[in-house]
């Protein structure tokens, strides 16, 4: 489906493409259906419908000067650009733009790892660098630092952090945007800006102090459309000496509330890495009576769930803990965690898990020796990029809704009930929210839960259910104060609308900024729900 950029005819579009070829070379500009197919969102729930967003062309500069040149050409022709780093933002729109006819600014060729510093523990990379690439650069240093990577390792540290993606090691590294330090940005007029200490000529601390002096605009470039990020620094964790795991189980449903508070304490004190909450009662979901109980409207009572757990001889909940640090410290921290939780929750039990020196061996990465059925994906827990988790994808892909929730057991129970009831409108979906649905402790200080219905390229009815359920889930969650953290372009306006304090002042503020620096919408108009004047009219 060939499309043109907004407000431009095919002759002007051809002239625009010719100027792009002059800037980056004829081999690095594409248009037409066949060449643009890989720029479609292959996980789209509106695949092959009128709602699908299509780019008109793609251009791939090889350095920041070419990015600047492309932006200036786009500004002259008033053509919206949609920057992608590696375009692997699957479940959140992939490489597809907000506005039909946008030109994808594909930064994959900018794939240089500029520095990995293992004395001061940081790196500086370009957008086309993947976690695989960065790990190989780290390997060359003798593995003196540990990455914190998302599930699929083919994505970009810059792209992932600008989407506020997450990883699975220690708390302050899991928030990838939070772990960034310094960025270079091409602004909508083509000017090249550096944030923080990068603004001070001669500074050698760009990756060590993120703020510099005065306001720090770095946050505008995450999930925003105020510029094209062409370099970014990240803090790295020194490779810990030792890794240790432990399991805590609690017998009754209400014990979960205390368990969460203890884990919050351990995490905020810097004693543990990412945790995996779970329920051993999941093993009963194949039993039809238990399935009905766990998914019943209004939620089951504590007594009903405790009776089922007692009858099965299973604890109600568990948490898998992971410790990083000197060997003796990991042991002391695990002993402390056990004492703290077991002395406070009657019937709680602890199991010692795998522990070993880092970096891990291949057998240790394979995670086959835990004395319990583990939910820990060892590679991602140890920052080793892979595509192992790709196996969870069902059908032809999925879309994701991950509401941000209070870090309490009570909130988890409320989400289970409220969203479980709301999603009963869509009986063909798996029961994402039920009495056993567990929180994800990915971002440093908050919980999220997952709603990720699948899509099928050849089944528009299936996709329509997914699409409608996503919109309903966003709306119902927001009514309860639970907001999405990241969304595909087709949902960004819905999500943005829920952040409505004081008559949407946050969005109106962003619009004022956008109007001031990019009124024609050269950079990703609509991204983050921010539309410039030209497109609001």
């Amino acid at each position: 489906m060939s499309v043109l950029p907004p407000d431009i005819d095919s002759a002007s579009f051809a002239a625009f493409l010719e100027e792009l070829r002059g800037a980056v070379g004829a081999d690095w500009v594409w248009s037409g259906d066949a060449d643009m197919f890989p720029y479609r969102d292959s996980f789209s729930p509106v695949w092959n419908t009128a709602e699908e967003r299509h780019a008109s062309a793609a251009v791939a500069p090889e350095d920041v000067e070419q990015v600047s040149a492309v932006v200036k050409i786009a500004r002259k022709h008033r053509v919206p650009l949609y920057p992608i780093s590696t375009g692997k933002n699957f479940g959140y729109g992939g490489p597809s733009p907000n506005v039909n006819g946008s030109v994808v600014l594909d930064l994959k060729r900018m794939n240089r790892v500029i520095e990995v510093n293992t004395d001061r523990n940081y790196c500086l990379v370009e957008p086309g660098v993947s976690y695989f690439d960065l790990q190989r650069a780290v390997d060359a240093t003798g593995n003196k630092v540990m990455l914190d990577c998302p599930d699929p390792g083919w994505g970009s540290p810059i792209g992932n952090s600008l989407e506020r993606g997450v990883g699975y090691t220690m708390p302050h590294f899991r928030d990838h945007f939070g772990a960034h330090c310094g960025m270079e940005v091409v602004l909508p007029d083509g000017e090249i800006m550096r944030t923080g200490m990068g603004a001070l000529p001669g500074s050698e601390t760009w990756q060590e102090y993120p703020y510099g002096f005065g306001p720090d605009p770095a946050g505008l470039f995450a999930q925003g459309n105020f510029g094209v990020v062409t370099k970014m620094g990240f803090r790295l964790m020194p490779m810990p000496e030792y890794y240790r795991t432990g399991l805590i189980t609690v017998p009754r449903r209400r014990d979960f509330i205390k368990l969460v508070n203890h884990v919050n304490f351990l995490s905020d004190s810097g004693l543990i890495g990412e945790v995996e909450y779970g329920s051993p009662l999941s093993a009963l979901m194949g039993n039809p009576d238990f399935f009905v109980l766990a998914t019943k409207t209004g939620g089951p009572s504590d007594a009903e769930m405790d009776a089922a757990a007692s009858a099965a001889g299973l604890p109600s909940f568990q948490v898998e803990l992971q410790f990083f640090g000197p060997q003796k410290a990991t042991l002391e921290n695990w002993n402390y965690a056990k004492d703290r939780i077991l002395s406070d929750i009657p019937g709680a039990a602890a199991v010692d898990g795998d522990h070993f020196t880092l970096p891990a061996s291949e057998d240790q990465l394979n995670n086959t020796t835990q004395p319990w059925q583990t939910s820990i994906k060892r590679r991602r827990s140890l920052g080793v990029p892979s595509l192992g988790a790709w196996k969870i994808v069902r059908d032809d892909g999925h879309v994701g809704f991950f509401p941000v929730l209070p870090r309490t057991g009570e909130a988890v129970f409320e989400v289970q009930r409220v969203l479980g009831d709301a999603m009963k409108e869509f009986p063909t979906l798996p029961p994402f929210f039920n009495a056993l649905t567990m929180p994800l402790f990915w971002h440093t200080h908050t919980f999220q839960m997952v709603f990720a219905p699948s899509i099928k390229h050849d089944d528009p009815q299936h996709n329509a259910i997914t699409h409608a359920s996503m919109k309903k889930c966003v709306a119902v969650a927001a009514e309860h104060g639970w907001g999405d953290y990241r969304a595909a372009p087709i949902y960004q306006d819905d999500v943005s609308n829920t952040y409505s304090f004081n008559n949407h002042i946050l969005r109106r503020f962003h619009e004022q900024l956008k109007d001031a620096i990019d009124p024609d919408g050269i950079i990703a108009p609509g991204r983050g729900g921010i539309w410039p004047r030209r497109f609001r009219a």
């Binding site: 292959s42 994959k108 979901m285």
Partner: protein, 148 residues
């Protein structure tokens, strides 16, 4: 099926990654196939290596169950350059298409040459990133005189 989907979403499945022991290949790779092998190692092996639990390999194991077609792409002898090109540029199911900025047309030709060469010319299986990482860490320890 609901339970299965739920279990997967809850992340209760362990994704152990262990090389299939019965199809390990050894030997050098022909010099003219080195580039294609590197492309395969970078872009294809993370999902399609001869490791049964990987997403691509496990899917193809199901697809070709009951046939003598191996699940790992690196062991296939029935592929052709046009077929490889179609899958790389169009994807299939949840495998996304790959753009020329990721795998250029020249690199696609080299990849196709590797995956269609006689098995004896391909040499040992490409190394996975984790294997490479573990090997390099061990080499670094050995060089530093530490334990193995």
């Amino acid at each position: 099926m609901k339970y299965l989907a739920l279990a997967v979403l809850a992340g209760t499945l362990a994704f152990g990654v262990a090389r299939a022991q019965d199809n390990a290949r050894t030997g050098p790779t022909a010099p003219e196939l080195q580039e294609g092998k590197a492309i395969y190692a970078h872009w294809c092996a993370p999902c399609h290596a001869a490791v049964p639990s990987l997403a691509g390999t496990s899917s193809l194991a199901i697809k070709y169950q009951g046939t003598d077609i191996p699940a790992a792409l690196e062991d296939r002898t029935d592929l052709s350059a046009p077929v490889i090109g179609v899958f790389v540029r169009n994807g299939v199911a949840w495998m996304p298409p790959f753009r020329p900025t990721e795998i250029s047309d020249g690199q696609l030709a080299a990849l196709s040459a590797y995956l269609t060469a006689p098995l004896e010319d391909r040499g040992a299986h490409a190394e996975l990133l984790a294997e490479e990482m573990v090997r390099k860490a061990a080499e670094a320890r050995a060089q530093a005189g530490g334990d193995q």
